[in-house]
Subunit: 238 residues, 2 copies
DNA sequence: CGGTACGTTGAGTCATATCAACCATAGTGG
DNA sequence: CCACTATGGTTGATATGACTCAACGTACCG
């Protein structure tokens, strides 16, 4: 079942194409990856790992979309981030040597490689460039988390919803008709913003009235990016 | 002015006493630290670095307390964390190679060492144990940030205030009369919780009425830890 | 055809923000 | 020494954003 299966992507090709963290590895190291990885396919709704468990490895996303979330009070999800092609997830718990502080569930069917913890750690010891890149990744995410904290603490739900729509545009893009390429339930949107599902629905329909978006079920068409930026109160960055 | 000054702490002693990240360095590496560090003293209100700037190094706290915060809309501070003896700050921007995403200001007079970026990076290349520990630190903070996001998004201000009081107890301790050792203005408390100053004042005085705390100006005496835990709705951890 | 999950809308409530006034304290300068 | 100012703390009144609860519509599925 392992790498004998058809269509298992090769790590060297994948790393250079997706620009994953593994592009910094040597040919031999890539070969090790290829040998040790376990290729898996998941469908929407499948769970990759769950909060509170110790994980024996991490995931590299080949295709598809995964939501990474924490379960708060009353089981309400708080979506922390999304992972897509080229991203790695669960590396946090591997490196901090803690149990998983999040769960991961499939949003759009995906193909991923599962890699044992040791390989992540051993490369750190043998390949400083890669170690630094990994560090950079973790520290970058830390910076993003800090921004999210400030946003949730200080912005209104309306501002945050507009901001998140723009964030989704930036991360997943629009198709040729300006529809967001990622499709989420209203509840999932609420769980990113940190609000109630009903509030998202009401605000989205306000945005629709104001001709900022168009709604077709789960598909959201972005009509006025500038308008959303204005609402979202994005601070200008250097 | 550098290390010729009196009372400059020696890194080897400091590292082992404070349990800082540098305890994983070799004797020679510690010696390098000692040689390259710049010892500085700051008073309450002093700013160590500011958001948006590129920083040429990072800080290791020898004594005192520093608040690390982001400036949001209308200049309102969102306090991200506190740093005290043994902690390092600003390493995030050094490692991610980004400008500072936070500012740092002194809460309680402090003595710190400033270390040039290169030294942090060069040790990563030469000392894998240290690299891993640094990675662990960053990943641990990432996990904490994720929890904070979920908390702010899902808990009420009342719950969060109780939680933060407990967090301050845990991190800074109580004196022999159960007074919190860290002393913050009401506004600073509000900027951790992510609320208005007036709300903190009102809630604190409710807590006082409920015999959970006692207030003497900026000094807060913790009377009923269990009670605060109950209010804070802390999830049980493994 | 019933079941389940998702989406929508309305009504009512409450927590929290906002605005404003006032007090206490400490530092400043004439 | 006193007026002056700035900063922080407190309280009250008021406004409102956002949540909750409840009902109902829709779509898909076995």
């Amino acid at each position: 079942m392992k790498n004998t299966e058809i269509n298992v992507p090769l790590c060297d090709k994948c790393a250079s194409e997706t620009g994953s963290i593994f592009r910094h590895l040597s040919a031999e190291e890539i070969e090790m990856l290829n040998y040790q990885k376990e290729y898996r396919q998941y469908k929407r709704g499948d769970v990759l790992y769950q909060e509170g468990n110790r994980i024996s490895g991490f995931f590299c996303i080949h295709s598809g979309i995964i939501k990474v979330y924490k379960t708060g009070l009353d089981g309400k999800e708080q979506i922390i981030k999304f992972a897509k092609t080229g991203d790695i997830i669960a590396y946090r718990s591997v490196l901090s040597n803690e149990v998983a502080c999040t769960s991961a569930k499939v949003i759009a069917d995906c193909k991923v490689c599962f890699l044992p913890s040791e390989i992540l750690v051993s490369f750190i010891k043998t390949n400083p460039t890669y170690a630094l890149e990994l560090m950079r990744l973790a520290c970058h995410e830390l910076g993003e988390a800090n921004s999210i904290i400030t946003d949730i603490a200080q912005k209104t739900v309306r501002e945050r919803l507009a901001e998140i729509l723009l964030f989704l545009v930036h991360d997943f893009g629009l198709d040729d008709q300006n529809y967001l390429k990622i499709s989420l339930t209203r509840e999932e949107l609420a769980n990113i913003v940190g609000t109630a599902t009903e509030s998202v629905i009401r605000l989205l329909s306000e945005f629709k009235t104001d001709r900022l978006v168009e709604l077709n079920g789960r598909k959201i068409r972005i009509l006025d990016k500038k308008g959303l930026e204005k609402i979202s109160n994005i601070l200008l960055k250097a």
